[in-house]
């Protein structure tokens, strides 16, 4: 399969992108690493009139390191994070997870912003970034707005990106020294999309305890105040505080009725927690 004929633009500023995507007389798709959009174009699942390539914009390809958080440009690649070209403020969480995304060839081109906007429920970034409490910054004609990562995915393959908006950066909080995290995904084979993901982060000094169950039918299930299922993070062995039954009930409420699905997702979260280093 070959894509339909389309126009192509590679602007060097976000303002130019916003102007190009404001044209609602034609179908416009933004392209970052093209690791999902490329195949979709070839399969003609997407038939745009114009492709706006975001990778020529310097602002989207760098990061800025603040006291409490780091801002990562939307077009930073998985490999940039894996290889620590981006400062890690997550005590290894992001680089470790980046290292397990698909294959190296995909990581070399695929981007954090592209993955979040593509909104595949099995993608790693949605789960781990929701676990560490990250947010995305969206810029449009009316200025910027900030949305939590878990709210950014509206549903499978649907992001909360309003007409005329572009995701510009991902803001990741700096974890304290007390923080612990874990990530477990169940895949049929290396590099494939997961069929169950468990992720968590506890940061007792900041009073945060978050758990995420990903690779569901739709958006990840985020337990933002997870003290009652995984504890507050102060226990020497976090798995002692794990309440699988409570997690199962949360998944049922979120619409996961199949018992085997529930079993694998609960197990993924439990194994993520078992991975955490003891204190």
């Amino acid at each position: 399969m070959k894509p339909v004929n389309f126009d192509y633009a590679r602007p060097d500023a976000i303002d130019a992108v916003i102007r190009l995507i404001a044209d609602d007389s034609r179908t416009v798709k933004m392209m970052a690493g093209s690791q999902s959009l490329g195949p979709m174009l070839n399969l003609r699942l997407v038939q745009p009139d114009l492709i706006v390539d975001l990778t020529g914009i310097e602002e989207l390809r760098c990061f800025s390191d603040g006291a409490d958080e780091i801002s990562i440009g939307a077009c930073v690649t998985h490999a940039d994070i894996e290889d620590l070209r981006v400062t890690d403020v997550t005590r290894g969480a992001l680089p470790t997870v980046a290292n397990g995304i698909a294959y190296r060839a995909v990581r070399n081109r695929g981007t954090i912003g592209g993955s979040l906007t593509h909104a595949d429920p099995s993608a790693d970034w949605h789960s781990i970034l929701a676990a560490v409490g990250a947010k995305v910054v969206l810029r449009g004609p009316a200025g910027e707005r900030i949305v939590t990562v878990e709210d950014y995915m509206v549903g499978a393959l649907e992001a909360d990106l309003r007409p005329g908006e572009v995701l510009v950066r991902v803001v990741v909080p700096r974890l304290s020294k007390s923080a612990r995290w874990g990530y477990y995904k169940s895949c049929r084979k290396t590099g494939e999309f997961a069929h169950a993901i468990g992720a968590f982060m506890t940061d007792p000094d900041r009073g945060v305890s978050r758990a995420v169950i990903g690779a569901t039918e739709s958006r990840p299930v985020v337990i933002a105040k997870a003290c009652n299922v995984i504890g507050d993070g102060r226990a020497p062995r976090l798995s002692d505080s794990f309440d699988g039954r409570a997690v199962g009930e949360i998944l049922e409420k979120a619409g996961m009725v199949d018992p085997l699905d529930k079993q694998t997702h609960v197990a993924a979260l439990r194994r993520a927690i078992e991975q955490a280093r003891p204190q």
Binding site: L43, E192, Q263, T264
Partner: protein
Amino acid sequence: MGKQGVGVSIARKEDDRFLRGRGEYVGDIRLPGMRDVAFVRSPLAHARIKDIRIPSHLRSSVFIASDIAADTRPIRAVSGLPGFKPSDQPILAFEKVRQVGELIAMCVADTRAEAEDIAAAVEIDFEELPAVHDMLLARRPDSALVHEEWGDNVFLETFVDINMEAAYDAPIKITREISTARQSMAPMEGRGTVAVWHKRMDQLVLYTGNQQPHIVRNGLSECLKLEQLNIRIVSPDVGGGFGYKGIVLTEDVCLGWLAMRCGYPVRWIEDRREHLTAGANCREHHYNITVYADRDGKLRGVECEASVDSGAYSSYPFSACLEAAQIASILPGPYDFPSYRCRTWSVSTNKCPILPYRGVARTGVCYAIELMMDAIAHECGLEPYEVRLKNLVRPEQMPFDNITKKHFDSGNYPESLRQALAKIDLPGLRARQKKGEPDGRLIGVGLSVYCEQGAHGTSVYAGWGIPMVPGHEQATARMTPDGGLELRIGAHSHGQSMETTLPQVAHEILGIDIARIKLVHGDTEYTPYSTGSWGSRCAVMSGGAVATASRELAKLIKGIGAHLLQTEVENVKLENGAVVGPSNSVKIDEIAHTWYRRPQDLPATVDPRGLEVTIGYKPARDSGTFSYATHIAVVAVDPELGDIELIDYVVVEDGGQLINPMVVDGQIYGGLAQGIGTAMYEEMNFDSSGQPLASTFADYLLPGPTEVPAPKLGHMETLAPYTEFGVKGIGEGGAIAPPGAIGNAVNDALRPLGAQVLHTPMTPRRVLEAIRTAAERREEKAPKVAEGLPA
């Protein structure tokens, strides 16, 4: 020049270009003025075509059935087996479509993208019909019909009964329902064709990645109503075949037709979506099988009903019934037992026509019978290997005609099992199972033994009566004036390493450096007729033909050499690339130079055949070689997630004399990867409307490097009694045994939970469902125990 002959592991000659990315595949061919074809394919599995609308400005770029009807015939591959119902596969569908992906219109443009644009503009009105999507439902009287004129959906039913009822008093009787999923063979290179009409030669030249160029010429000649003199088929480098490229394609007929009329070269390169949605073509078997045995594990009889989903049409040349009918003849596997009954159905459904995939029916058959052997072992309280040792054909019985009259030529099957067992620590693994794993996983060990009939010839295929019956395999051996040697064969290498191994055979006889021996193949213009590369036949048949031609050539070389040495031919021998007489010698180079360039130095009585031989070869018996192997898998099953990890894998095989042991190892590795695919990953599901549910490799999973363990390999070399050098065909075996070995290992691991998986692939979901079903069964039984009833 080091050792280069038969039995030497020399590096492959073809790898120089392959490893540098310099292979030349159909997709690499660029001809001046070449245009691209895209097809309009049926989006529905079963429907009547009510109307095809082509925008008028595109009419000259689109061709439909009515355009080609007068010049073409449908593809018709009939089997001579009694009761076989033929199907005509239209080149372009009219009236009715019978599978998703069936060709309806051919669109041509300067680029593939533009051709796809045109294809998207063609509108078709369908009247959808109920899809025949399940081969078991398809046999019910109320099923919709794929071919209405048949009255049912069965290409062929076969039945064999050999003294079955004598086994009915056996104390052990075990019945299972076992099945294997439909797969899509997945060579790295898909199909592809370039066609051009060559005016000077008055010839259609069709470049198509194919295992059987001469068979494609037969088929195209029939379908295009063209003399074979006017057709040349070229199969360049082929990036994997496995059976996927052992077929005459409707696409090839279309492109041939177009090239004959349009005045420019045309090209069609299959994309992965076409491959997966229109080409899921193999492995779908279903067995209701019962085994009868004595308490000591001795197999008394096997009774089976087997169905194969053969798809919508009978493909050319192997036909729709080869797979199922083969089940009946090979289900007994490597075992000796006295009673057998098997009924098979080749069922027509609204799916792609079935093709023989590496191992053909053997992979499914081996899975079924090997699961049953383990069931007997469990029932008798024996180790699985003990049951096999009781039932395997014994070396002192060789050659052995089994219950279905298969002639096992040679071998020591129990020894392959013993050698394989020696490569694992079975008592250690049993102790480890008892102790349990710290991570909660369950360890299992599984065995699988099979035999593989290869290079079976005329007598076997005449019985099938399909459009292709192999006879003598021919080879040409021809010296060049400077002393090089050309070998020409009609079979084709799509990974078999024949550019290396056949020169090794010629070297063994002629002593010419293999660097100066070139294999010419893949072109009907330059090579003798052959049914091509399939059925693990090339090492035996093309190898035998090359050996025979080389021996004849040796006589001619010695004749000229004797003239030059001024002695009688009885006094000379061929040694190290030279003819050696009583007192002096002459190099083959010089002999070639004399024949071609200095004929004045030769006497009038010289043999006029010169230095070129074409000759045919058949083994002393054409019932096939029987290679065999034992596979052992050791797995760890995660009972919570259903994941299976292969923690050890053993293969001990007997391929007779190995021409190049390294190449054989490569065949086993590749086959094993595909067998693991069958066992654990590959599955094309269809919904009830006959829609295939995977269209990319994100949905159709193949094992990758991290999923395929490095096996422990062992070789035995029991020479085949009927072939040159004692060679046996081994090309398919690696893909035959893994589902049986892994299946038995998984069930061994799950035994403490009372669970078993009887369907490939063994996905995490199927493993978890098996565990859950077993748990529910235990819960149902539990209250009865409480009431004092037997559990």
